[in-house]
């Protein structure tokens, strides 16, 4: 029983990392990648290949996974991030399918459709939990500083942002690479946790789901992304029988949220030490005036 719950928690947390990487790109910066799963896959396969086929140590496999994610991000980002957002969206969609095709084609190396089994089990709960915390820490820090303001300005009005001195293209590339790096790191974690990976792990639907989850929580709230991700994925793992229907429920929820509360369930809310403190303060001394 304990193992079951530990497992649920591990899976949930790993998917939370993916959601956070997408939050940075889609929630904060307004770019949608329907091939984000490709970066997760790249990370997972790099980790698997590095350890299984090349016998490299785990830590190096993690680094290589991130590097490969960055390379993929550059290949896609450099030509498309200059163009209108739709091109980026559609090309990432194609990229995701290309990565799958590539894995199937190189079956000698990757095992093709059979997948890759026997990857060392090296990512246990503590490592995963620490990873989530670190990613969360980074993203929350970025959001509250100039980096995050720049992201939001690009999301809302690229032209105005550029006229205010923002190098829009360079910033978009930074965001995309960071997001790709986090996703591929998460992919490596996934490989080392599940020990088995296959090319169809992340199709475009999986990428779409990551985006959609962010809109439930609200694009202005990391907390929202976090809570929705935790809720959605743990629910799915706990109630496997309802697995297919949970997406239908999620879809209905998303549409309702977008129509009736497009700022998302959490709006601008962020869970912060300040907010927690204010909870206690409010009880002791109600604010005067205001």
């Amino acid at each position: 029983m304990f193992y079951f719950f530990a497992n649920v928690l591990e899976t949930t947390l790993m998917y939370t990392i993916f959601v956070l990487s997408v939050y940075l790109l889609s929630g904060l910066t307004g770019f949608f990648s329907l091939g984000h799963g490709a970066f997760i896959t790249i990370g997972a396969y790099t980790a698997g290949l590095a350890t299984l086929r090349f016998g490299l140590p785990i830590w190096l496999a993690f680094i290589l996974a991130i590097v490969m994610g960055l390379v993929g991000g550059l290949i896609i980002g450099v030509p498309t991030l200059k163009l209108r957002r739709d091109y980026f969206l559609l090309i990432t969609f194609g990229f995701g399918e290309m990565v799958r095709a590539l894995l199937l084609w190189t079956s000698q190396l990757t095992g093709g459709a059979m997948g890759m089994a026997g990857i060392p089990y090296a990512a246990e709960l503590p490592l995963i939990a620490i990873s989530v915390v670190v990613v969360l820490f980074i993203i929350a820090n970025l959001k509250r500083s100039s980096f995050g303001r720049t992201c939001i300005s690009i999301r809302d009005d690229e032209l105005a942002a550029q006229a205010m001195g923002i190098n829009v293209y360079a910033h978009k590339i930074k965001v995309f690479l960071l997001s790709a790096a986090i996703a591929s790191y998460g992919g490596a974690l996934l490989a080392f946790n599940m020990t088995f990976i296959e090319p169809n792990l992340f199709d475009w639907l999986e990428s779409a789901r990551l985006i959609v989850i962010i809109f439930v929580g609200g694009i202005n709230s990391v907390t929202g992304a976090l809570v929705t991700a935790l809720f959605y994925y743990s629910f799915g793992e706990l109630f496997r029988f309802a697995n297919v229907w949970r997406d239908v429920i999620l879809a209905v929820l998303v549409i309702l949220v977008i129509i009736f509360r497009s700022q998302g369930l959490f709006g601008n809310f962020e869970l912060s030490p300040k907010w927690i403190k204010s909870l206690f303060n409010r009880r002791k001394s109600p604010k005067r005036g205001a």
């Binding site: 030509p79 163009l83 739709d86 091109y87 095709a101 779409a208 789901r209 879809a251 549409i255 497009s262």
Partner: protein
């Protein structure tokens, strides 16, 4: 490649390309009017593929009537989605992003609903014709493919006439600036949008039916919309003519590549080619580069 095989693949490619072209136009039409990438198009394709199966195997065995019935289902589904999911967002003048998010949500909902109900079943369409292939000299052609090509061509020609010659069609083409600017030529944006979705839905109906005939029906059949999207990109987003040309080109290139190199390398080459194309000529074959206005 032997020249006989080449001709055969070429014809198959053009037929398949016709289906891609229909997809690209359905996708491009909505992009033209509302300026967002409408992934729910794939959802309508899936619904139509299932509808086409049930209609043709349970209700109407005649090919043309079954096709027409499926087109109607597609058109109705398109309109329904527009009214339920996109209209509220449009009326509230929310950013286009929300339209896009709703569209992927619909695609996801359709796929997962069918997966939940019939996920483990495969539905093959009935054989509409006794003779499915015929030969000219040494060459064997698939009757189904030629029929698909003929239908696609007729539909695209009719659509072109509609868009060029009727007041409504011209209004749809003119609506390509911004849905949030005042209505053009006295025709209500709401009406234009509705009709656009009906047409796109009808095109998705054809696509679904043909894909169902060519492959078997699964919940994931809508994902083949990627081909239509690729055609739309190559053609130049929003340029319908470009989409048609690119769709046919894509079909030909794909068929030839598959025949020559196999089906596993082909998608890789195609995607790489698109990335390179975008680097060199981002506006596609015939499109304008969409940029933000000051």
């Amino acid at each position: 490649m032997e020249s006989g095989v080449f001709v055969q693949q070429l014809v198959n490619g053009i037929s398949l390309g016709g289906v891609y072209a229909v997809m690209a136009v359905g996708f491009g039409l909505v992009f033209n009017v509302l300026k967002f990438s409408n992934f729910s198009h794939g959802g309508v394709v899936t619904v139509s593929a299932y509808a086409g199966f049930f209609i043709s195997s349970k209700l109407i065995s005649s090919f043309p009537l079954a096709l027409i019935a499926t087109i109607l289902v597609g058109a109705a589904t398109g309109l329904l989605i527009e009214r339920l999911v996109f209209r509220p967002v449009r009326l509230a003048k929310k950013p286009l992003t929300y339209l896009f998010v709703n569209s992927i949500t619909v695609a996801m909902m359709v796929q997962q609903t069918f997966a939940a109900i019939w996920g483990s079943y495969y539905f093959p369409y009935p054989e509409f014709f006794k003779r499915t292939a015929f030969s000219i000299g040494q060459l064997v052609f698939s009757g189904t493919y030629l029929l698909m090509l003929a239908v696609s061509a007729v539909v695209l020609i009719l659509l072109t006439l509609f868009l060029k010659k009727t007041k409504l069609g011209i209004a749809i083409r003119a609506a390509s600036s911004d849905i949030y600017t005042p209505p053009l030529m006295g025709i209500n944006t709401d009406v234009i949008t509705g009709i656009t979705f009906i047409i796109a839905g009808a095109l998705a109906g054809i696509t679904g039916f043909f894909l169902g005939m060519t492959y078997t029906v699964t919940p994931f059949i809508g994902s083949s919309m990627i081909k239509g999207i690729i055609a739309a990109i190559i053609g130049g987003m929003g340029s319908l003519t470009g989409g048609v040309i690119a769709g046919i080109l894509l079909g030909i290139v794909e068929s030839l590549l598959i025949a020559e190199l196999g089906s596993s390398v082909t998608p890789i080459i195609i995607y790489l080619a698109i990335v390179i194309l975008l680097l060199v000529r981002p506006q596609g074959i015939a499109g304008n580069l969409y940029t933000v206005k000051a």
